[in-house]
Subunit: 376 residues, 2 copies
């Protein structure tokens, strides 16, 4: 048997695997099979998905899995498993060597290897071209950003219109809460065909844990970090914006954090361009904050200062390559990254400001328009 | 070096990997490390997640990844990768053999194997106990079902209140559309702290493709399949309910499909109990539909009749074990499964009815309360 040919193989559910969605442009909640040679692309799906796959998938041919399971049953296999079905598809095309994603499942890899196939993984990014966004992809993300900005403005307007009483913010007779503001944001996003979860509305020291969602009443004169990172339901591309605001009067220390984070973000903008590494950008941001007198490190068993990366790639995944942080590689024209320095000091509060930019040959282009104003 | 000990290792983001969430009860959007020996459970996370992990994770100890990367840097490693960090954690505990999920990533598995570790996968289910739901898990799912039923009733009431004009359904002066009803459902779910995507509102022949979301104006006298499968934001458990309705007068043929699907569902209810296989339940449902005269097979290159499984396990994942379908194994007390027979005939329409039941020793308990009425 001649199994001299090579192919790319991905087996995943495209609802949670962006490499699969990028390759197939077919959205399915259960794992299916994507196969690509130098000249042709296939997906293999169950009968249940055939109609939709034929209408939607950006491949040359849709293979009904039932065709292969019937054939295997006729050959005496009682209940053909995934590896057996894939082997049958590969045999038909004389494919013996497979390139798979780094995240390819071990059970299937071991099973294919034990059948004599060479299975090699490719380190992330699996599709290099996912890193350099096309004009269409940038348009999708810009659309998601505009929707996010509208909804962010609804949230800020709600805080602006709130009244300060008894050390709390009130919307009419009810205290304004993180949960209430999060719900308002999620409804607003749905109205714009976007979906978000775990939106951060973190007030005061809650905001000092950068991934804390936030809960309970929002307080006057304290930092409120709002970090919204929805996915567009239509395009599946993400937006990601953070603003930090205060209703009432921020402390002098908090204003200093805000100005420091703004300066750190400007530092990043001035550094980002094709050819620079993500690590260099991050180091420049860290140094700028240090020079401004903001210290980073553990105090009483808790990190404070600037202790996360400067940003991350954004696209079909909310966190993708390249990284602006330790180990972040060379930036390329067309990369889309967040720029989100932050400062966190329990007792003063947290400040993070986040925009989304496109890397260009000579600099970066900020896709975000939301204003940056601390005091509402 | 003594590396004689064994451990379970999972490396995944718990937002998309239910096995990881089940093990750690810690929700994080980026991959982290879970390790379990016979006596102890750990997770290893970045500094960014330390505070939240300490507050939330159901493990014995939280390991800061930075501790290991610093140690490795001191030993001369410039930018320690994931496998190197894990090896360092394993070495400290004399662990040489690892049991990992079937979906464990190939890059990491190969990298650990090349360092001398034995890496064996366990076929799904990775955590056997995920299949037998506790009273608490059933309460979470019942809560999600109640929320879903309330929202389903909002949608049905909207259809009920619509008026028939010019061959369309109108809500006031606007045609009632699949998109509009889907949006109403999603907002209603958000109000109840649930989140759904790809909710199906598929009218007439659109409903003959069981995974078609549906689009455009809803039509009178035609089947409208509404399939809602949200996740509770609090508990992360799912609900899954389908109802099929008609505004106006259903055809005689459509009524026959509806009665057939109801009978098929009753057939399943009467069969489901501990000890029976999912395949047996599915075969009983298929036979019942055949005996009622409903034929299944390909017509003009398209599947029609009853061409999907009878149901699937439901829990932290929307599709999990056990299956009620071909190859479905022995049911156990405490399994929670959907029961969702359907009939699809282009020209007549599609009908699917779906409830969620708990498998018990002597039968099944239906957790779903939503009424089953074809004509609104």
């Amino acid at each position: 048997m001649n199994q001299s040919h090579e192919a790319i193989l991905v087996v995943a559910a495209s609802t949670i695997n962006a490499d699969m969605y990028y390759a197939s442009r077919f959205l399915a909640p259960d794992p299916f099979i994507f196969l690509q040679t130098t000249s042709r692309k296939w997906i293999a799906v169950s009968d249940l998905e055939l109609d939709r796959a034929r209408a939607q998938a950006a491949v040359d041919e849709i293979l009904p899995l039932s065709r292969y399971s019937e054939r295997l049953r006729q050959q005496g296999s009682l209940e053909p498993g995934q590896a057996e079905l894939i082997a049958e598809i590969l045999k038909e095309r004389s494919i013996g060597t497979l390139l798979v994603p780094a995240s390819f499942g071990l059970e299937l890899a071991d099973s294919l290897r034990s059948r004599g196939y060479r299975v090699n993984f490719k380190k992330d990014p699996f599709w290099d071209e996912r890193l350099r966004k096309s004009a269409e992809e940038i348009a999708h993300m810009t659309q998601a950003l505009r929707a996010t900005e509208e909804v962010l403005e609804l949230a800020l307007e709600t805080i602006r219109q709130s009244t300060i009483r008894n050390g709390l913010l009130y919307q009419g007779s009810q205290p304004l809460t993180a949960e209430g503001l999060r719900r308002l944001i999620h409804h607003g996003l749905l109205d714009r065909d976007c979906v978000a979860e775990q939106t951060i509305v973190a007030c005061s020291d809650q905001g000092c844990d950068p991934h804390e969602e936030g809960k309970g009443p929002l307080l006057p004169h304290q930092s409120i970090i709002i970090d919204v990172f929805p996915r567009s339901l239509g395009s599946r591309y993400h937006a990601d914006i953070t603003r930090t605001v205060v209703k009432g009067t921020p402390s002098v220390e908090l204003k200093r954090l805000f100005d420091g984070v703004l300066a750190a973000q400007e530092e990043a903008f001035s550094r980002i361009k094709a050819g620079v590494t993500g690590q260099e950008v991050h180091e420049a941001v860290s140094s700028r904050l240090e020079r401004l007198g903001f210290q980073t490190g553990e105090v009483n068993g808790r990190q404070q200062g600037f202790f996360h990366g400067t940003g991350h790639g954004l696209g079909l995944d909310i966190h993708e390559l390249p990284r602006l942080g330790k180990g972040g590689g060379v930036l390329q024209s067309g990369n889309v990254v967040t720029v989100e320095p932050g400062l966190y000091y329990p007792g003063i509060g947290g400040v993070r400001i986040e925009d989304v930019v496109v890397v260009r040959e000579e600099g970066c282009e900020n896709l975000t328009r939301a204003p940056k104003v601390l005091q509402l």
